[in-house]
Subunit: 96 residues, 2 copies
């Protein structure tokens, strides 16, 4: 399935920056970091459970916000972009 | 239609913070700010054109990144959340 994960964390503190770095590293194992705190993820149901479990162990429950949206197949390619953003080729990346 | 708009902008500079504030104000006219730079938007095709046009006039083309994902109806309610994040009631908000 395809998921969009957004992570709101204060990067004013070194702790916040560290958590963002760790979550980014995790998410990059399943997809791509398309903005500083936005990740396009491709995974199975069971991989999602593993990912959620790992994320829960990193984030600060009372401070950070994670939102995960299930999106239809093809959404990453169909994204509308402005500024420096560009659609990123997941399939090619996975083949490489 | 329902859209997820994510805005990557450096908030280190006052100019960046100002652009984020302006984009947030615009987006809040069509939906809700659910994270610092993530907006759940409900709009028509023509409203989207108006919104995009207004955003283009605010953002710094060479620095900022805007991504807009079309999501299926009901996605905002079905969002999976961790930490302080919660699904937000768009319908109720619109009725009020």
């Amino acid at each position: 399935m395809e998921l969009l994960l957004t992570y709101d964390v204060s990067t004013v503190t070194p702790e916040g920056r560290n958590r963002l770095r760790k979550v980014a590293k995790l998410c990059e194992g399943y997809g791509m970091r398309v903005q500083k705190s936005v990740f396009e993820i491709v995974c199975t149901d069971s991989e999602l459970l593993t990912l959620l479990d790992a994320i829960k162990r990193i984030i600060a429950d009372q401070e950070d916000s994670i939102r995960i949206y299930k999106v239809p197949k093809g959404s990453f390619r169909a994204v509308k972009t402005l500024g420096t953003a560009k659609p990123l080729p997941h399939d090619d990346a996975l083949i490489m």
